[in-house]
């Protein structure tokens, strides 16, 4: 049932082009039914009225699907609730007088733009290298032409659920984007529509990932724990296979 709690926030504040630091704020009388971001809204309203610029953080749908939100809360990407984005984390997960440490997703390619907002454009750049099927509008044959085994369609959907939030990168001890890249490569590797480009897709996307300064996968699976959509590391294994196969084959 709903109750009110007080918590102390230790939040990373950083302006563009400056070094950041942690600041301490109090969040008073927070309804435990409120979501984490609603708690942040309340704190921001208070800060604004006392003349302090509100904490910048990214969010949009607040339904856990757009992938905008995300911060490291008490050491965990998206907070402590498994398979949940930050916007779906609720204050009932906290106790009265808790201290909550909030910091941005960190990795070399995720530079802080302001406070908790980081630049995740690297993920888009990876997609640009082949995270699609190169089909022009109008090219398509009748949809029922190619039956696809249900299990493959489901496995493809499992991978396709990625929301591109970047939690996997932030959680990875090496700042690697392997789970993100693997999810996209897998989605298409599992479907016949993706096959003509599978070799160059795996190669180009991995090369882009390297070029942007994401780290290497050391098979430690922190990414899979952090993923709010439960994307599995089997996709990384699949990416490895796709990449190795592509490297060994001379025809692209």
């Amino acid at each position: 049932m709903a109750e009110k709690i007080n918590v102390t926030l230790k939040v990373w504040r950083q302006n563009q082009g400056e070094e950041g630091e942690f600041k301490i704020y109090q969040a008073q009388d927070i309804d435990t039914e409120a979501s984490f971001l609603e708690m942040m809204d309340i704190v921001n309203e208070g800060l604004t009225l006392s003349g302090i610029e509100p904490i910048a953080f990214e969010d949009d749908c607040r339904e856990g699907i757009c992938g905008c939100c995300g911060a490291v809360v008490n050491g965990k990407t998206h907070g402590s609730h498994e398979r949940t984005t930050l916007c779906q984390l609720h204050m009932r997960k906290f106790k009265n007088n808790d201290q909550i440490v909030i910091e941005p997703f960190r990795a070399k390619p995720f530079q802080v733009l302001k406070d908790l907002i980081v630049d995740r454009s690297g993920l888009d750049a990876i997609i640009c290298e082949g995270g699609y099927v190169d089909v022009k509008t109008g090219n398509a044959p009748e949809a029922a032409t190619t039956p696809i085994k249900r299990a493959l369609a489901e496995a493809s959907m499992d991978a396709a659920q990625c929301i591109g939030c970047g939690a996997c990168v932030a959680a990875c001890p090496n700042g690697s984007a392997m789970l993100f890249t693997a999810a996209k490569v897998s989605q298409y590797a599992l479907l016949p529509q993706g096959h003509p480009e599978r070799a160059q897709r795996a190669t180009n996307m991995v090369n882009k990932m390297d070029e942007l300064g994401f780290g290497n996968c050391s098979n430690e699976y922190e990414c899979a724990v952090a993923c709010p959509k439960g994307i599995d590391v089997k996709n990384i294994a699949r990416l490895n296979r796709e990449f190795i196969k592509a490297s060994l084959m001379s025809e692209k």
């Binding site: 942690f22 910091e103 090496n174 050391s218 098979n219 699976y221 699949r238 190795i244 490297s247």
Partner: protein, 221 residues
């Protein structure tokens, strides 16, 4: 095959790392362990094994060269991977929870470095330094490798040093074995994986077996 991509991309260099590691594991570590087990059966058998090895010099040299190449390649790739990983993490979270990360995985660069130091010392101890004694065995004069090993492990410091490195070998292998397979594209699930378990058991078994010689030599002189 695109050489640059195959060997220098993030997945490529991990394949190199995995393959060079696997070569050392299969062609060197396992036979070496087999030889070590003979130590338990007394000086004659062990010295005879050592003597036979000497007769197989061309093969042994071949394997040694392969080992040397593997070590260099492995270390070079490992250094590159590790530095890239550190670079990708230029700023760290002040609080970080890593529920899935094993200690073995975390320590890979360090256990790897220790193993390298160990190999250097091990070569100095037993390969470069010639055995002091020679004995008769089945009518031949052979080096008393058994005695040399025994003598080596009379110093507590030496034994502890070797044991410490066996722990490093154990840690290194327990992550390396399963990680190699995942790098090759084999699916190893997060929870309840038999491969992870086997990998751990093999690592403990090997480290334990290697540890037998110093322990036995020290305790049962």
């Amino acid at each position: 095959m695109n050489v640059k991509q195959t060997f220098f991309s993030s997945i490529g260099q991990k394949v190199v790392l995995a393959t060079s590691g696997l070569i050392m594991f299969l062609l060197f570590l396992i036979p070496h362990m087999g030889g070590n087990i003979l130590f338990l059966f007394g000086p004659d058998l062990f010295n005879s094994y050592a003597a036979h090895l000497h007769q197989l010099v061309p093969i042994v040299i071949g394997i040694e060269v392969l080992m040397l190449v593997s070590i260099i390649v492995h270390m070079e790739a490992a250094t590159r991977v590790t530095l890239a990983n550190w670079r990708a993490r230029d700023k760290r979270h002040s609080l970080k929870s890593t529920p899935e990360r094993s200690l073995a995985a975390r320590l890979m660069p360090y256990s790897g470095g220790m193993i390298f130091l160990f190999i250097v010392k091990h070569l100095l101890d037993f390969t470069i330094a010639a055995p002091k004694e020679q004995i008769y065995l089945n009518g031949h004069v052979v080096n008393d490798v058994y005695g040399m090993v025994y003598a080596q492990f009379q110093h507590t410091g030496e034994v502890l040093f070797y044991l410490l490195f066996m722990v490093a070998v154990g840690f290194h292998l327990s992550h390396a074995l399963q990680s190699t397979l995942q790098t090759y594209g084999l699916y190893i699930p997060r929870k309840g994986s038999k491969i992870k378990l086997i990998s751990m058991l093999v690592a403990i078994g090997m480290a334990g077996t290697f540890a037998i010689i110093p322990i036995r030599a020290y305790l049962f002189y």
